[in-house]
Amino acid sequence: MLNSLPISWISFGALLRREIARFMIINRQTIFPQIITTTLYILIFGFSLGSQIKHIQGFPYIEFILPGLVLMSVITSSYNNASTFLFSARYDYSIQDVLLTPLSYFQMIVAFTLGSMIRGLIVGLLVLSTGVFLLKLKIFSIGIVFLFLILTSQIFVSFGLLIGLWADQWDDLWTFISYVVTPLIFLGGTFYSIQMLPYPWKWISLFNPIFYMVNGFRYGIIGFHEFPIGLSLFILFVLGSALFTLTVYLFKIGYKLKT
């Protein structure tokens, strides 16, 4: 069957393998720091400070915030991988090695997206396993956990590719994280239930995509949700598809890639 694969799909496989190799070569930089940071969060906010906080919606504080902590690691790993790879490839012109190949722009973006998603998912699953081990948690629904992990990672990989494409300097990559992602993480119900917020903040949270990610992922882990899961999935699917389509389109027209 492999022998009958069209050339461009063999190219696709090579590009995907290269993208995975790229972050695995420097795994001390790309995989493990996130796990250490999140483990420290669990230990400090969960066992130390968290013990001073009452239960939230009937769950121990650390169990309530664990899904958000895992998603934070997935979001930053996915975004960082995609944005830094694409920006540095534009910066040193190595992106041209890919643009010269018979790959379609759709195949290029799928390979770049999957490559960065794999890093995000490896980090996310390792952080989740650490949390589950430390808290002796029983996962409520593995299927929902995977579904929201995948969607979250894909959305932030697409953001990363778009920013990596748009950025003119390294600072631009961190600007998006500092001024957009971090506030959205903290305002998206990562560390609290939005039911605890006063009006109108409760409603404003519904415009934050990270709220739907945390909501669905938390449901998958501890079985608690504040918004219908099906609708959360739908909203994230639409957002992910729109970002992916925009990325393919920008590659196709050569935005900041071709003069």
Partner: protein, 244 residues
């Protein structure tokens, strides 16, 4: 003879500044073609359009009869491009980088490794195969760029200033290798500042000046028109454009 590259009415404007002003060019298969011209003449723009890295404003570019934009899946595997700037991936070793590059052009892993091994030996890069590009000297990087362009055995090899910054010994070795590739039937398009390089290697030459082709003919005729010295074209560009 089949046209390896066929360019007609090629225009490129950068922010309304014309860089190429309607180029027509036919490069027959098997030619060793020299594209010469001073800085800013439009040489790199022309080859980047052929390879698909720059978007044209008007005109058509065909590779063995296939349009480079509409039929890019067919044309791109036919072209190998070695650019002037080093653009080697910083994370991978030379060996891995080249094996992946072969894969990107549809070579299966075993086949790609075999090509890489052959080319690394042929270009004297074997002992440097486990180095990342930051640890390669300028001459080694230049060779690596050519190997990268050859990895998928393209029918057309485009070289943008391939011997810029390399020592005389390596330059002569590269010349011999390029002549061999051409004798094997490969079409080679070369841009160079070294006029003696064009004289030694090419059998057809075109001279670009301010986005137009001043002359395109056999090497002998171009030399004859320039009284034996190609420098004359750069110093005193003729008023009338003499096309082949």
């Amino acid at each position: 003879m089949t046209a390896a590259i066929e360019i007609s009415g090629l225009v490129k404007n950068f922010n309304s500044t014309p860089v190429l002003k309607g180029i027509d060019l036919i490069i027959p298969e098997g030619t060793f073609f020299g594209l010469l011209g001073p800085n800013g003449a439009g040489k790199s723009t022309t080859i980047n359009i052929i390879a698909g890295l720059t978007l044209k404003s008007h005109g058509t570019v065909k590779i063995f009869g296939h349009d480079v934009e509409k039929e890019y899946k067919l044309t791109r595997p036919l072209i190998g491009l070695a650019q002037q700037e080093f653009n080697l991936d910083r994370y991978l070793t030379l060996f891995d980088l080249l094996v992946y590059q072969g894969g990107l052009f549809g070579l299966r892993l075993k086949e790609s490794k075999r090509h890489v091994e052959e080319l690394l030996l042929r270009f004297g890069l074997w002992e440097h195969r486990m180095k990342k590009h930051q640890r390669l000297s300028g001459g080694l990087k230049r060779r690596a760029m050519i190997v990268k362009a050859l990895i998928h055995q393209p029918k057309i090899l485009i070289l943008d200033e391939p011997t810029a910054g390399v020592d005389v010994e390596l330059r002569l070795a590269l010349w011999e290798y390029l002549k061999t590739l051409n004798k094997e039937g490969r079409t080679i398009v070369l841009t160079t500042h070294y006029l003696e390089e064009a004289k030694a290697l090419c059998n057809e030459i075109a001279i670009l000046h301010e986005g137009s082709i001043l002359i395109h003919d056999t090497k002998e005729k171009v030399l004859e028109n320039s009284q034996g010295d190609l420098h004359n074209y750069f110093i005193h560009p003729p008023e009338g454009v003499a096309h082949a």
